[in-house]
Symmetry: C3
Subunit: 155 residues, 3 copies
């Protein structure tokens, strides 16, 4: 349990949430070959959506980054659950899709997305260096500010 | 032609549309290895877009679910066309990207997306359990309410 | 350097930009097996974002197509950089994700996206025939009108 990545999480005082099942006919993640496709994750914490609001209205960039980090924790919870609890089996984070709920005129999606990207690279180093698409959407589920999906290669 | 999935479609009174070619320089689906990438499908029926409007304005959640189902029928038409007419060759529906045209303040994208997810799982069972990203976008082609793209593993 | 695709680019008077590194903790492209995942590319030129505005407000469809083409040039710059400078190693462009910043009521995303699709097919022929998802988003980074991400198979 105390591998390098778990240690880094602990250092940062971060706790991965439980890998909760969605309440619908889809799954948190699918596997094909050595790829994991992780469903779009919301900033859930203790089963409740956090970070409700839009960038450029309720939230500053810094607050949006924090919301993005919470999404990443949920992404990683599902990756870990699919790798028998061992995040060191991540070979490469291939792609993040980062959706930022954006009020009219808010165009700093890249800075908000850095909240997700920075945490991934802090935890995984070069293996965490990913491609990404960061876009500003009209609305997200439950009114949250950020949603993050991922494609991850494992070994 | 009357395999298990075709039988379920018939039971539900659902008919897959013709796998129509797009009128542009792209294709409905590409294949790499054992994966099919299906282009974002609109709720076309008999060559015409259905379900024109937004959630939270013209459409209720239930109506949006119906539009999402129509998109899925078009997704499956193209999957079938790429599998020599045999949908039982689907090994796993890996990912759905579900885009919901959302009026200001509409945040029930997951419920709308369930229209797509439920149909897929009804038809394919565990093989249909997919990862998904459901987001609310500003506008979709022709003003339709839902667009669905897919990544499908086959054998 | 003067292979068929470079020759077509030259014929059209198009110059691929430098494959510039993003100024954040992500990378322009990742590779898994024989697939390249290219990050969402903006219409950057000489290091500056072009095409700032929305479709249906500042830009006509034709102008949006031009912006989409500039995004594709950046996509191809990164594909080339990952293939030792040889774009003839592209086996198939599998998928484009095309995000169009859309003012209320603008629903011609497919026509704008054709700016990207047409250029890809002009350059790569059948190998360029891709699946795509074209959607209208609220806002894009720096206020640009189009963002294009890609998945490309190579040999």
């Amino acid at each position: 349990m105390t591998n390098a990545i778990e240690a880094k999480l602990a250092e940062k005082g971060l706790v991965l949430p439980e890998a909760a099942l969605p309440a619908a006919n889809y799954v948190p993640a699918t596997i094909s070959g050595n790829l994991i496709y992780v469903s779009g994750q919301l900033p859930m914490k203790d089963g409740k959506p956090q970070g409700i609001g839009k960038l450029g209205r309720e939230f500053t960039i810094e607050q949006g980054q924090e919301v993005a980090r919470q999404c990443v924790l949920n992404v990683l919870a599902h990756v870990r659950a699919n790798l028998n609890g061992d995040l060191t089996r991540v070979k490469r984070v291939l792609r993040l899709g980062i959706f930022v709920a954006s009020a009219e005129g808010f165009t700093d999606q890249p800075k908000v997305a850095n909240g997700a990207s920075d945490l991934i690279v802090e935890l995984f180093g070069d293996k965490g260096k990913h491609a990404r698409a960061a876009v500003g959407v009209a609305e997200l589920p439950f009114g949250v500010a950020v949603e993050v999906e991922a494609t991850v290669e494992f070994e």
